[in-house]
Amino acid sequence: MKKRNSAFNRTFTVLVFLFLYLPIFLLIVFSFNQGNSNTVWTGFSLHWYKELFSDRLIMRSVYTTLLVSVLATAIATFAGTFAAIGFYSLRRRKRAVLNTVNNIPMMNADIVTGVAMCLFFVAFFGLWGSFAQWFNGIQSLIVLPERLTLGFGTLLIAHITFNIPYVILSVGPKLRQMDRNLIDAAQDLGCTWFQAFFKVMLPEIKPGIVSGALTAFTMSVDDFIISYFTAGSSSSTLAMTIYGMTKKRVTPEINAISTLLFVVVLLLLVITNVRESRQEQLEQRRKKLPTVTAAEAAQFARKSRNLGPLPKIAGAAAICVLLIVTGVAASHNAAQPVVNVCSWGEYIDEDLITQFEEQTGIMVNYQTVESNEALYSLLKSGAGDYDVVVPSDYMISQLIEEGMLEKLNYSNIPNFALIGDQFKNLPYDPLNEYTVPYAWGTVGIIYNTTMVDEPISSWSAMFSDDYAGNVLMFRNSRDAMATALLYLGYSINTTDESQLREAYELLSDAKSRGVYQAFVMDEVFQKLEGGNAAIGAYYAGDYLTMLENNEDLAFVVPEEGSNWFVDAMCVLKDAPHRDEAEAWINFIASTEANLANMDFIWYASPNTAALEGYPDYYYENYGEELAPEIYEIMAANEETLSRCQMYVSLPYETRALYNDLWIQLGI
């Protein structure tokens, strides 16, 4: 007899489950938060759920996620099961070799698998291009596409590839447990090979297939990094959308959609469970009654048959409904012209996308990326074949230098005339041939007035022991080094090695003294809003977002000066949808779009009418005056800007030095 667990053992198990579910519980709670914070509770509300269904960006990524997961799971389960049977029938040595290869995707870090596949696809597309060109040249019967790009197809291949090993891993042991003689016996008794497979082998390994499929599906839904490198510019999964938001902030809509998915899956699994245990009870009862009458047996059979397919149908139906709902919310016509845009997360009023699509009939594929450097890597590795990107100043000059941008045809962009002269011909694009500015702002120090002794006014606060353990530093080399360079009185664009090393020493010394609580990007919201840290360097627009959740926060552009930045829209070299791209840029440069964006993201607009007209716009929309000091922070005045420098692209050697120093700081 098996011994049951003691109360102590059960408590332990319950505690482990509490551990697993505590963070999820919190996440669900905050999906009902009124405010836009994930830490500060401001009241109960359902409006994130409402917003969710009109948020096409999220709905589309959910649709892509579900579609790719369902397809990849189905294909991987089918292929993996047969592969497992094949492996099982191989000789031991061969099997060992194949098993090792099969385990590679699991043994490898996801990021390596992702990059490796991306490199492979890009290389393959190159070869294919020359082949198709040659092939189309020698005959005209069949026209092969010459330009292949990453997209849903490659995403699917990648998911299938990392899913199959999970299926094999869970089917394999079942095969080994199976009695081999059973199949031989079945065949001896006259079964064809086919029958033996379906009647004998399949029932034996079915639990393995089911759990393999479940694992594969879960892994597909959860995967981020492999999708990131293989999805290209036209499709993005939910995980990619979430990750793209991490430069700015993750919206509670994400909590809402996660809660919904969670509840749907929970219900599905509970239904399946209840059904299985009912069936089991029936079977047990049948076993207990060895002398059942024929009528009783028939009744049992009917009962279990009635229960049989229902949950499966319910499950399939639920997934179909999910696909249809998200699909409709995300729908588009296949023949519709498209434009692929890549920007920062939470950096646009998404109503603008809908408006643009309705006005022009062009569909916008909108993806987000977490930093300028990540964007550069995506473009370099060939994973990002966008039309429009919105990098910051210094990255723009780097892209221009490397010949990665296309000159714009400004006659297609009449709204460029609305951009203020002070935002034209800036150092990153001196003749203004490549760019149309999107938004601008300043970097400064955000601090909690209740946690500091006196107002902060200098970068010294980032390096002194006064607030040790309560300071947040940038987690990107350029901004972090800039704070140190500014404090030391050097230019933020210096290429002087000794000055850079001095700045590094300052940072590294402060780090070893425990000044920094953490190096952060968007985690800064959580930490400053929730009073977890006293001081942090970040961007002005984001300060205004935080202010909505914590009134004690203040912002200052330190007296030593700071960085001011411009993010501008550019078109990539050889972009496939140039005209659509320019139509998009023109639309976004309009005064209405700029006003809507300013209102949504709290970053200043380069459009003169929008910039000057925003206080009136605010008054019309909210019925109250925009506080002048808030406007001042949003759109820094002449005096503040005169203290600020813009980043310029650094020469290769200096960039290499930055990388070295930054990694040393981390070691």
Binding site: I104, I111, V115, L119, A374
Partner: protein
């Protein structure tokens, strides 16, 4: 029969050649290339600089794996002793968290562990922090939990515990109980039965659990950024910086990834040798 069946593996072998082996070859090529494209050893020559990062990553991943094993094994064992209904429910409950993106779950941990977070607020309201200050004569406002290596290990354990429980559970639940009974009949006490029968028989599950926890732990980058405060790099961060982050250098990234892969594969091969006999035991 067997030969005919073995042909079923051919399509997948071809698939693997294209989408598993060829991409890995690309990584190897990159690891031995310079930025200009020629052959070079330079990427590996720099490896010494990163020894500290290798050490830290392997240390934290090992600790996390050990904790996962210590928690995961008893849980799997106890689950296997419950009724079938509970077992199925428990399996579902273990898989379910993975349906919420790991970034979101990790964010949640930040708000639990932060200086002004859920736990510290709880400790404050029940007077635990005052008590601590009285006893030790300190004057702290909070317990520092976030931004420590402990928090990173916690994040790894939290995210990868299911990968330890699932394989161990699936092996234990299929154990032949007549073996246990036989051992007991022959006079073994509970502990001896566990040590001499159950534990050796669950070895294959333990091995695959260790693999499935250790590999993602050693190469994670989001967890160390968010829970570790981003101050101490891990291997995953290092690789991520070369491919995605501020230091685009795919050649160096490929080299680091390759070294990591080789170390991991060697560990796994050694471990599997060690466990090979045990697999036979399960098949008996």
């Amino acid at each position: 029969m067997r030969n005919k069946l073995s042909r079923l593996s051919i399509p997948y072998v071809v698939w693997m050649a294209f989408f598993v082996v060829a991409p890995i070859i690309m990584v190897v090529i990159y690891a031995f290339s310079s930025a200009e494209g020629g052959f070079t050893w330079d990427n590996f020559a720099q490896m010494g600089t990163y020894a500290v990062v290798f050490g830290r990553s392997f240390k934290l991943a090992l600790i996390a794996t050990a904790i996962c094993l210590l928690i995961g094994y008893p849980v799997s064992y106890m689950m296997s002793k419950e009724g079938p209904r509970f077992q199925r429910l428990a399996m579902v409950l273990i898989m379910l968290p993975m349906w919420i993106n790991f970034l979101l779950r990790t964010y949640s941990w930040m708000s639990i562990l932060d200086n002004n977070g859920l736990l510290n607020n709880l400790f404050r309201s029940i007077g635990l922090i005052d008590l601590y200050n009285n006893i030790f004569g300190t004057n702290i406002q909070y317990f520092q939990m976030l931004n420590t290596q402990g928090a990173v290990v916690l994040g790894m354990v939290y995210n990868y515990l299911p990968f330890m429980i699932l394989p161990i559970y699936s092996v234990i639940v299929k154990l032949d109980h007549s073996l246990v009974e036989a051992a007991r009949d022959l006079g073994s006490d509970t502990f001896t039965v566990f040590r001499r029968v159950i534990l050796p028989l669950s070895f294959p599950g333990i091995l695959s659990g260790i693999t499935m926890v250790f590999v993602p732990s050693v190469s994670t980058f989001a967890i160390s950024k968010m829970l570790g405060g981003g101050t101490d790099l891990m291997l995953g961060d290092l690789i991520e910086q070369q491919f995605l982050g501020g230091a685009y250098n795919p050649q160096l990234g490929a080299a680091i990834a390759l070294v990591m892969m080789v170390i991991v594969v060697v560990c796994m091969v050694v471990m599997n040798r060690f466990g090979e006999g045990e697999e036979q035991a399960v098949m008996l």
